[in-house]
């Protein structure tokens, strides 16, 4: 019963936050509501006993991705009037896509072929069951090739992103710390013995 209460509590916050993401006038507010939405959906995943995925959602999306998002959004100077210019022109297309999406979701959730009735309620796991361990075992045994392929694709994406932004200017001065630490005092300073000059 308490779980049902928690589920509705989290769902209400999630729906509100998701709605505010698209209706908030200030983009920074939208980004922060998106953070709230991620956080509450992590709470709902916890109720589903998927603690590893829930914590990873917070760690990756809330802790890293959204920070960078916020970073960019804060530095933008967005003119809201220009963004809203073509709103009514594009409204019919947007509404049509929204209706299609609603119908698809209704098919998945309520239909006779996919509906909840076909999915038995999963058994509650015993207390010592480690979600993380099971997931790790599957990823490194049964699904090791898809996992490796995904890793390689991500690596390619990282290399490409860095290659796109990397530029080397020849005319800037820069330091090479590896060379700096190798410097010895005798290479730089030369002490010359000089007799003191007599006072005149």
């Amino acid at each position: 019963m308490f779980q049902t209460f928690l589920f509705y509590f989290f769902s209400a916050i999630l729906l509100f936050a998701a709605l505010r993401v698209i209706t908030a006038r200030n983009p920074v507010h939208s980004a922060l509501f998106l953070v709230l939405a991620f956080f509450t959906s992590a709470g709902i995943w916890l109720l589903l006993e998927a603690e590893f995925l829930a914590i990873t959602l917070v760690l990756v999306y809330v802790g890293a991705v959204m920070v960078l998002f916020l970073f960019v959004v804060m530095m933008l100077d967005i003119n809201l009037d220009r963004l809203r210019e073509g709103f009514w022109n594009w409204f019919p297309l947007g509404a049509a896509i929204a209706i299609v999406m609603v119908i698809e979701m209704a098919l998945v959730l309520g239909g006779r072929y996919f509906g909840l009735a076909d999915m038995p309620v999963p058994e509650a796991r015993p207390a010592g069951y480690s979600n993380t361990k099971e997931l790790g075992r599957l990823v490194y045994t049964e699904y090791v090739y898809p996992f490796e392929i995904a890793a390689v694709i991500l690596l390619v994406a990282i290399v490409a992103a860095i290659a796109l932004t990397l530029r080397r200017r020849r005319d800037t001065r820069h330091q090479d710390p590896a060379k700096q630490v190798l410097v010895r005092a005798r290479d730089r300073v030369r002490l010359i013995p000089m007799p003191p000059e007599p006072k005149e």
């Binding site: 922060l32 953070v35 914590i55 990873t56 802790g63 920070v67 804060m74």
Partner: protein
């Protein structure tokens, strides 16, 4: 338990009992933490004072007792901050301006839920405790970013940008250091991590096989909490006080509390994961008689002393050098050591 069942009935009784028990335990953890934070500020001023051949605060006492000189200083500071007005700058985003200190202190407190102080002495003995700590502490950066943006001030904004980039960068190195710990202990549960270090006294603690990771974790911890020598987010000489320039009174005090609570948290995590948590350093009589929580507190105090010592010793890093240290030194070091540990664990030389 029985009283609650008779008062609220068999359905609600156990639930309300759990709720009340948890709330009381939270107070039992947070209240000493806040006292610890207050006296950590005093310790910092005293220790840095002595390191710079000064005396530090030695005036404010309780009830005029002369030999308690200085001991009431944190209380006096707290009272002063509570009495001051909270100025909200014009053009600031009021809601976010007030929300930012809350966002900063919330993770610093919430992380303590899974910290084991002794065997069985933990609020929530969750299975994925290590992941929980990482996830919760990674949220601390929002307070800083939101504070900088909501203040409507250039200095605050620059400070928050610096801090956000720094925290996100060092989190990666920290995460990899924790991967090493979890490989060595084979569990994500914090009590389990301490139990994996039981053995031949301090020789079984993870700081020996994972020494590079221990150093990386400790230094990244300093960077995560924006402490000197990585305190470019505050950088008094360049951007006044960074993200909290515009904050005054209690709103500023909350940032201050969060910083010190985070320091204590990082010190506790270092003690639990690398220095054996509540375990005594030797397995014979005078050491094993002392309760585990005192060993943990002693280790935490030692790591905190290191934090203060760093601050008194090192000059502030330049920003590009902070980034270089994080990305080009710490992350490769942790990656290499994870591979080394992985290979080491397959041999018979792995005795931890």
């Amino acid at each position: 338990m029985e009283i609650f069942q008779t008062v609220f009935g068999p359905d609600w009784g156990p639930m309300i009992f759990t709720l009340v028990k948890t709330l009381v335990l939270i107070v039992v953890i947070v209240a000493p933490l806040m006292v610890g934070v207050a006296y950590l500020t005093l310790a910092e001023r005293k220790i840095i004072g002595y390191m710079q051949v000064r005396i530090g605060p030695n005036r404010v006492t309780f009830f005029g007792i002369p030999w308690l000189g200085g001991w009431a200083q944190p209380i006096a500071d707290g009272l002063k901050l509570m009495m001051k007005e909270i100025v909200i700058p014009s053009g600031a985003n009021k809601f976010l301006f007030v929300l930012a200190p809350v966002l900063t202190i919330m993770p610093a407190m919430a992380a303590w839920a899974v910290v084991p102080f002794q065997p069985e002495m933990v609020l929530a003995n969750v299975d994925a405790g290590l992941l929980y700590i990482m996830a919760i502490t990674s949220m601390g950066v929002y307070g800083v970013v939101v504070a900088g943006w909501a203040s409507n001030s250039k200095y605050a904004f620059i400070g928050s940008l610096r801090s956000a980039a720094q925290i996100v960068s060092y989190e990666i190195a920290m995460g990899f250091a924790l991967v090493g710990v979890l490989m060595a202990s084979q569990t994500l549960n914090l009590s389990g991590i301490v139990k994996a270090q039981i053995g031949a006294g301090f020789l079984s603690w993870f700081f020996i096989p994972l020494f590079p990771l221990f150093l990386v974790y400790l230094i990244s911890g300093v960077a995560e909490t924006n402490r000197a020598p990585f305190d470019v987010a505050e950088g008094e000489s360049e951007i006044v006080a960074g993200f909290h320039v515009e904050y005054s009174g209690m709103a500023f005090a909350v940032f201050f509390l969060a910083e010190y609570a985070n320091m204590i948290l990082i010190a506790t995590m270092t003690s639990i994961m690398f220095l054996g948590g509540w375990l005594p350093p030797f397995n014979f009589a005078p050491f094993t008689l002392i309760p585990g929580i005192f060993w943990l507190l002693g280790k935490v105090a030692f790591v905190l002393f290191l934090f203060l010592w760093f601050r008194a010793t090192f000059p502030r890093y330049r920003y590009d050098q902070i980034m270089r240290l994080g990305w080009k030194v710490f992350i490769p070091v942790t990656l290499i050591w994870i591979v080394v540990v992985g290979g080491w664990m397959q041999t018979r030389l792995w005795v931890w």
